[in-house]
Amino acid sequence: MKLTGAEIVTEVLIEQGVTDIFGYPGGAALNIYEALYNRQDKIHHYLAAHEQGATHAADGYARATGKTGVMIATSGPGSTNTVTGIATAYLDSVPMVVITANVGTSLIGKDSFQEVFIAGITQPITKHNYAVRDISRLADTLREAFKIAGSGRRGPVLIDIPKDITAQTYEYTPAPKWEEKKSESVHTQALATIAADIKKAKRPVICFGGGVISANAGEELSELIKKTQIPACHTIMGTGIIGFGDELDMGIIGMHGSMTANHAIDECDLLLALGTRFSDRVALKLSDFAPHAKIIQIDIDESEIGKNVLVDMAIVGDLKAELSALVPMVEAVPRPGWMSAIAGWREIDRRVYDRDYDGIRPMDIMEVIGEVTNGEAIVSTDVGQHQIWAAQFCKKTKPRGFLTSGGLGTMGFGYGAAIGAQVAYPDTPVFHITSDGSFHMNMNEACTAVSYNLPVITVILDNKVLGMVYQWQTSFYNKHYMATTVERKSDYQKLAEGFGADSYRCETREEFEKAVKAALAAKRPTWIVCPIERSERVLPMISAGDTVREAIME
């Protein structure tokens, strides 16, 4: 069957199981959009306000489902606008395929209108990328992109296709959808050693990260935690596996981690690090990280073993397979001394978190969302104070239910990501937690939510400052508030109305609960503005290079 290059693109997308894509058209992408026009029966295209928003939407879709997200952009500025979105996905190992159209091959390299070498620009932020130069390679290149994005350690792949190649015709032979064949074999001997170490350990800790979610190993991990009764903490990327309030959950570790988690890491004699790369926000002082522990790391990426923290033992493998083999080997060992030490630290956290406060507290916001939705909501965040509060206080969550830019820290990520998640799960409540700083970056995506009637509930924690930077200026820069006390006059409720979204303003927990219930019932895009005290800080805090003993608690 002879098809145009553009038709080959849509056919391979359909073949690979793609049903939803996010994008923005343009001159070089016109042929692809013509092919999409003819395949609307199989592929739903969502137009974003900006290519960055479309890329975050594909990313959010992928994070929420585990499937590979797909995004399409035109040449030049269309493709450069995807860069932040691609880097965000790369740093958090999210499977994504980004298709950029480029100018025709005869115009490439001539500084033509809307021409950039996007394959060069995205080299360090993609798992791999392609500049297609020959239509005979197009279908297989697209298939290979899905393989690379969705296997091993996930990541974004970009394919750049010149316009003339989308117009040429070539023989298309359908191929089956590619599925990752996970190896069944596990490291039995190493796992037996780990089981023996667990039995011997007096003060064991599990620390897990986003790798557990990528591997869909949440259940296996929960079983391991329950069966061994080992207290667990997680990185922000690991949020969702066990909930705040679970007896063995110590919360987040690192810079804004709980005192419980950070003290436990500091004193543990065995640390099982699962799907985590010991980033600089987690291991704040490399030379003093888990100083008394035998550290065992399991990760799918060999280059993460010992990259940041030297470990005593490691397994390179699929966490789901390794953990399900480990669970039957382990047994519960009562460790009353260790558990009572942890209970003591928990008291410190309770005092730090449960601060008295006039008006609505970030903690209230997250608690209400958890309670009203019974932990079924998907929560997406932007970046800053609200992000950490969301992670600290989201009570009940589920794997793939907490979407945040942990690695790149992209302000403006949340709205697009929430839109992507809502497209994937139309009937699930999706909350976008943001703040006045982050929201001003990409609030334009409100038009996307409204156009497709995606009932994303945006909660704006409005403290009229760029809160996280403001907090650092308070603590470390003599309260020199340079460029953080924004005097913006934006009226969120008028803006919401202008975009065609509903809105509420809530100053108490009760008002907020009412607004959330009303928004959930209305099933319409909604903004809820919550004024927050600007003096409210993310606590506790441990600076880079410090240890839990230097934590700032008030």
């Binding site: 394959a119 060069g120 080299q123 360090p124 798992k127 791999h128 500049a131 290979e144 393989k147 690379i148 969705g150 296997s151 091993g152 990752e180 064949k181 190896s183 990426d301 060999e302 280059s303 010992g306 990259k307 030297l310």
Partner: protein, 172 residues
């Protein structure tokens, strides 16, 4: 700090060299020398590079390089096991009174003099980097006008053959 010699087999594609140098640049690894050439398989190129770092850095270089889709094999060359060669061309200022002495040095090192002019001569030497360093140490007392080295290239002795491997599970 060690000086590691790393051999790579890579796909012979347009962007592969920039991908490797981008990786080194991004992660702050310093390439001291780099040679690239096609192999007996036209689809595969061989890169030999030298980089400095402690054992952890060298290990990271190998592991990160392996993750590149177009990289088919990576190995660290053992200086005692592999044959290492590098080509040196050096132009030395030499009037008639100095020529004989330089010729003597060349004879000891088995370097050849490939160009003479009134005031200078060009020496060519192939050998292990250490031999070339030794030769240059001696020449140092003369005035070196210009110098270029190809960078080291390496091949294993005996039956051991470097072949393409499948590092990435995505090709399963």
């Amino acid at each position: 700090m060690t000086n590691a010699i790393i051999a790579l087999l890579v796909e012979n594609n347009a962007n592969v060299l920039s991908r490797i140098s981008m990786l080194f640049g991004r992660r702050g690894y310093n390439i001291d020398s780099l040679t690239v050439s096609a192999t007996n398989d036209p689809a595969i190129s061989r890169i030999t590079l030298t980089a400095r770092g402690d054992d952890r850095v060298i290990e990271q270089i190998v592991l990160q390089t392996k993750k590149l889709v177009e990289v088919k094999a990576v190995q660290i060359e053992d200086e005692n096991e592999a044959i290492l060669r590098e080509l040196l061309l050096v132009k030395v200022a030499a009037d008639e009174s100095q020529r004989a002495a330089i010729r003597d040095v060349c004879e000891v090192y088995k370097a050849s003099i490939v160009d003479y002019s009134a005031d200078s001569l060009v020496c060519e030497l192939t050998g292990k980097p250490s031999k070339i360093n030794g030769f240059l140490d001696i020449l140092d007392k003369y005035e070196i006008l210009e110098l270029c080295r190809t960078g080291v290239t390496a091949i294993d002795r005996g039956a051991k053959i470097m072949t393409c491997e499948d590092y990435t599970s995505h090709r399963s």
